[in-house]
């Protein structure tokens, strides 16, 4: 799947040119994978650039600094046990720079990883203290390597878990009816059930993706219902009557937004005969 359009126009527009690709490994030189018009091609063409707009999306596909680092290492077929610190640190910092250039909100975890990489790199440059019982000197990379491998192990395990058939998603349980006599029991529902149902709706993104979800919407929605209830069965209500001053400013603001939303949705009408005259609110259908 080629997710990045190899559009040269876009490329130049963003000023990101295809640069030389890093050697495939620290020791060996870069062997071209193909020759194109006599020029060595060092990487697959669709890999050559990423539009800066897409950087955030690109980073969103990583689960964090370990994931990104693992990607950098794996992408180049480097041995995790023998990470070329200089190369990998430079690349990692490159990503961080790019993030900053795009003013992306930098997660502290990414910066922490950068600091760790630099620390390891600098410790590698220092002469290593000899160990007492002529054992191997500590490799400052060891702990990072352990974490990378442990994370990769979990990442693969997560993929395997997701491949396993899951009840409801991949197979159905049997549900043959027992005809109940006597009294009928009503199903119990919890807030968690509602949450689960909403997640199911969300996962069918085709139908929901145009549906913006906003954080504070719920309190507004609640007020909208409240206002419609107040108006039900009455010809009109004075505007002020909809605002309970003693409930505090946030409530008033939410209530006001609810009124605006109801007007926008054509559910109520707000009218005023002239400036400074009383404002009346009525149901649009009233």
């Amino acid at each position: 799947m080629s997710a990045v359009p190899a559009d040269p126009a876009l490329e130049s527009a963003h000023g990101v040119a295809a640069g030389p690709v890093e050697p495939a490994a620290a020791s060996g030189g870069a062997e071209p994978i193909a020759l194109l018009f006599g020029q060595p091609v060092l990487d697959l063409p669709h890999d050559l650039f990423i539009p800066p707009d897409a950087l955030k999306v690109f980073l969103d596909s990583f689960e964090g600094p370990l994931d990104l680092l693992l990607y950098l290492i794996r992408k180049q077929n480097l041995n995790v046990l023998d990470i070329p610190m200089a190369t990998i640190t430079r690349q990692y910092l490159g990503y961080i720079d790019a993030m900053q250039a795009e003013r992306l909100e930098l997660a502290a975890e990414y910066l922490l990883m950068a600091a760790l990489l630099i620390e390891i790199k600098s410790r590698l440059l220092l002469p290593r203290p000899p160990k007492d019982d002529d054992g191997e000197p500590d490799d400052p990379r060891a702990e990072l390597v352990r974490r990378l491998l442990e994370y990769e192990q979990i990442k693969l395990a997560a993929l395997e878990l997701d491949k396993m058939p899951q009840a409801d998603r991949d197979f159905a349980w049997l549900a043959v009816l027992i005809e109940q006599g006597a009294e009928e029991r009503l199903p119990e529902v919890s807030a968690a059930d509602l949450r689960q149902s909403w997640m199911a709706i969300l996962s069918r993104a085709r139908h929901t993706r145009h549906h913006k979800v906003e954080k504070d919407e719920l309190s507004v929605r609640e007020q909208m219902s409240w206002i419609l209830r107040v108006l039900a069965g009455r010809d009109y209500v004075a505007f002020e009557e909809l605002f309970e001053v003693d409930k505090g400013v946030p409530h008033l603001v939410v209530n006001f937004i609810a009124v605006l939303e109801l007007v926008k949705e054509g559910l109520i009408r707000v009218s005023q005969d002239a400036a400074y005259q009383p404002i009346y609110v009525r149901l649009a259908t009233g």
């Binding site: 997710a3 539009p51 027992i178 149902s197 069918r204």
Partner: protein, 217 residues
């Protein structure tokens, strides 16, 4: 996988659907099981066969009800089954739960709104059961042709769920990052994604395309 020209396989699919469905299935619904056009007459014939197959064997029978066909336990076994589970709380179907979730989170909504979000039509019985429970009510009518009713949740809904106000429901914004959309979506390209990067619903997408699409599926 066998094709539906194989009658035995077709019968097995019908039987499996009836055993797993939590509700009666009508012949038009059963037709939806197949991408091929299977004639109603053939389905009816198969249903009769399944009914015969189960007659006399096992404690379960296939019965035809007003709204369709369903398997149920023979009444003679009820005394045994009752011992097993003196009180098993029933569950609402997913259709009911999702409808309730939409009314709770998006109120006031019309039935059309609910259908737009769920992408499937909402049956009257779903609305009826929530209404009978006293959890939803019509609080007005939208001023559009047909004057559809506007649904909202009731005080009783909050009480029964132990909530003080709708604000105590789990926030929606967070939920968007927990799921990935179904794989039958055509993958978006990166540029399109970038444009949508601040869209909550698209958040899960972004993590999806390059990762889950290829390796999870």
């Amino acid at each position: 996988m066998s094709t539906i020209t194989d009658l035995k396989y077709l019968k097995t699919v019908l039987e499996t659907a009836l055993l797993t469905a939590g509700e009666p299935l009508s012949v038009p619904m059963l037709k939806r099981l197949f991408t091929e056009d299977v004639k109603a007459a053939l389905i009816n014939e198969m249903l009769d066969e399944i009914q015969r197959d189960w007659r006399g064997r096992g404690g379960v029978e296939l019965v035809r009800l007003a709204s369709g066909w369903r398997f149920r336990a023979r009444a003679e076994f009820n005394p045994y089954l009752a011992r097993l589970n003196p009180e098993k709380p029933p569950r609402y179907s997913r259709a009911v739960m999702e409808t309730l979730a939409i009314i709770a989170y998006k109120q006031p909504v019309t039935r059309g709104d609910i259908e737009a979000i769920r992408g499937v039509s909402v049956s009257s019985s779903v609305m009826q059961s929530l209404n009978d429970r006293g959890w939803i009510e019509v609080i007005g009518h939208k001023d559009v042709p047909g004057r559809p009713g506007l649904y909202a949740t009731t005080r009783k809904f909050l009480d029964d769920l132990g909530l003080n106000s709708l604000r105590d429901l789990p926030p929606l914004a967070e939920l968007g990052t927990l799921v990935v959309p179904q794989a039958d979506e055509p993958p978006l390209d990166l540029v399109e994604q970038a444009e949508r990067a601040d869209d909550e619903a698209a958040r899960a997408y972004a993590a999806d395309t390059d990762t889950e699409q290829e390796s999870y599926v």
